[in-house]
Symmetry: C2
Subunit: 395 residues, 2 copies
Amino acid sequence: MQQALQNMRVVDLTQVLAGPYCTMVLGDLGADVIKVEKYPDGDDTRTMRPFVKDESYCYMMVNRNKRGIRLNIKEEAGRAILYDLVKTADVFIENFRPGTTCKLGIDYETLRAVNPGLIYCSISGYGQTGPYSHKGGFDIMAQGLSGIMSMTGEKGGRPVKSGIAIHDIAAGVTALYSILAAYVHKIRTGEGQYIDLSLVDSGLAWTVWEAAAYFGAGEVSGPNGSAHRVSAPYQGFQTKNGHILIGAANQKLWERFCQDVIDRPELLEDPRFITNSDRIRHVDELEAIIREIIIREESQYWLEKLDKAGIPSGPIYRYDETMNDPHIRAREMIIEYEHPAAGPIVNLGFPAKFSKTPGQVRRPAPCLGQHTREVLRELKYSEEAIRELEENQII
Amino acid sequence: MQQALQNMRVVDLTQVLAGPYCTMVLGDLGADVIKVEKYPDGDDTRTMRPFVKDESYCYMMVNRNKRGIRLNIKEEAGRAILYDLVKTADVFIENFRPGTTCKLGIDYETLRAVNPGLIYCSISGYGQTGPYSHKGGFDIMAQGLSGIMSMTGEKGGRPVKSGIAIHDIAAGVTALYSILAAYVHKIRTGEGQYIDLSLVDSGLAWTVWEAAAYFGAGEVSGPNGSAHRVSAPYQGFQTKNGHILIGAANQKLWERFCQDVIDRPELLEDPRFITNSDRIRHVDELEAIIREIIIREESQYWLEKLDKAGIPSGPIYRYDETMNDPHIRAREMIIEYEHPAAGPIVNLGFPAKFSKTPGQVRRPAPCLGQHTREVLRELKYSEEAIRELEENQII
């Protein structure tokens, strides 16, 4: 089977989540990704629980479709191997704190001299420039700085973080599309280039509606629980056995909701709830009335009634319910394959379904240093040289 | 200045957020994006507030760098124009409910007959296959189904939504990288293909750590406020004038925090807080003690002390604070340009900084039908034909 990126080679010095997510997807789509892990312990996530037969599940989740080598780039002999590798690469990606690559001798200026066509992508917390560039940055600090935390939570309550590491992922997928755009340019012109992106900027660029409210009307979006800001009722409600979402977003749906779902036609005459603006003005009272009704029956009961009435709705699943939903299964969003050390591995599938060049699991995540010898042999290192590098704690 | 995607032409039938975000970034990177809006009223966001001189700020935020035409594709004459346009395109992207493109005669099988090299990308709520594929889907329903809502909120509290439309954006950026990968394949082989992706799958694919906990240990991630699941103290705290994040994630940082930041060295001796596991076990008591201290001074006071002590920390900004932060400004994440109808527009900048092919605003978002005549002329329609199409309410 052909894969879209089968001619691309990536040298990956990232760890944890943002960079590894990016290079995993490049690998899913066919790129030859060589993950270079630090000597002696490798990617920090290798120590993150849970473990299966000593292999970290977190590591295995985001490092499939990569070959792994271990390399001591603090030593000159290790750097020399990295340069040899970079000569063969289209893409180099790293997530050191700004300034570190210069100290290590693996900054863009140095590597472009080795390979002028190289696409070099740096991921950092705050970017390579600007007053905070020197700081180390984590997803949660980025959620705080971008304003996303302050928009998340109960109305009037404390800011809470998004359930997933949204800025880490944002940096990863921004790196993905940027590298691919730069690769298109490289295919056409032979030119490489440098790409600087940060966790903060990548997530901030996604606050599109919130920016429209602020730039267009000076409004600052705050937390609003599970509720829509301009339609009511449009939010989550607790049932007897879980939570569901009800989106009666317009007048017709509101009427059907009162008549066909909750059997409370008198609400349509209530002066507090006549129009959507009325309902938004009295949203707390509206919510209290509906809450007291919805909690009396189970989710399935309400979802069937809502569906029949044509009102947008759906479950608010716990994650284990998501993982067992027949639609999620039918979409092949849960896949299984063998890992040489850990045995059968369950992982998330490919969100994009390509008709000609589908994503594939060609290999599970590597054990630490699993492909060091294989890659060095490809670079024409002799068996003797490899043995010496091992003895000298370079690989 | 060169742009990475300057040879790519995109015909865009999407509206609202997911698709438009995707095609905006393609446009930022140089693609010629022709946005085809429905007759007579165009993209639904054109009616979304706030407005500046009758132009919707929401619309203007995600439709820069596109040309806009208005087209009645329900009529055969309108479809004929669309086919002419598709003949010139590399990429076609739509977000109708599954099945609708067949009824409209613009499904993949029809359009590939017109242009065999076409990359055709469909974005939908639940995807083109599976038991829920027929449903209309919105971001909030996807947040409920994927489990992301159930992981967001206060510990023990109700599920709340992420501050931003995370699944809409997920589908948009998944479309972005998928289209670019397919474009690389097309450059190499001339082949087009079909890409099916959904809001649900795209966001679900980002629940990496949560999937590791579930697949690796059967653990279901629930909401945890602003706190880290395995380190303490690592969370948000209210100050006298706002909220800040404190990430004393290991023993050394905890010691420095007690000694140099809050001046409570006796906490180091408290048997409830000796090790990180102790602190996690007694996290509520720990939080109560720290909360009562942090609230006494302003954010700036604490952030300076934390910074001096080398403890990861940062503000939890309201969005207006984010927009006025000197680092955000220095990173050019806020840009301004002229819109012909609305005047000066402020928008979010480009998260990826390319050295050779930077993102650019070549044009502001189009007024409804602004480029209809220009594009029809490029397709060699005569002035008379264009007049007739207008009279017949096709454009």
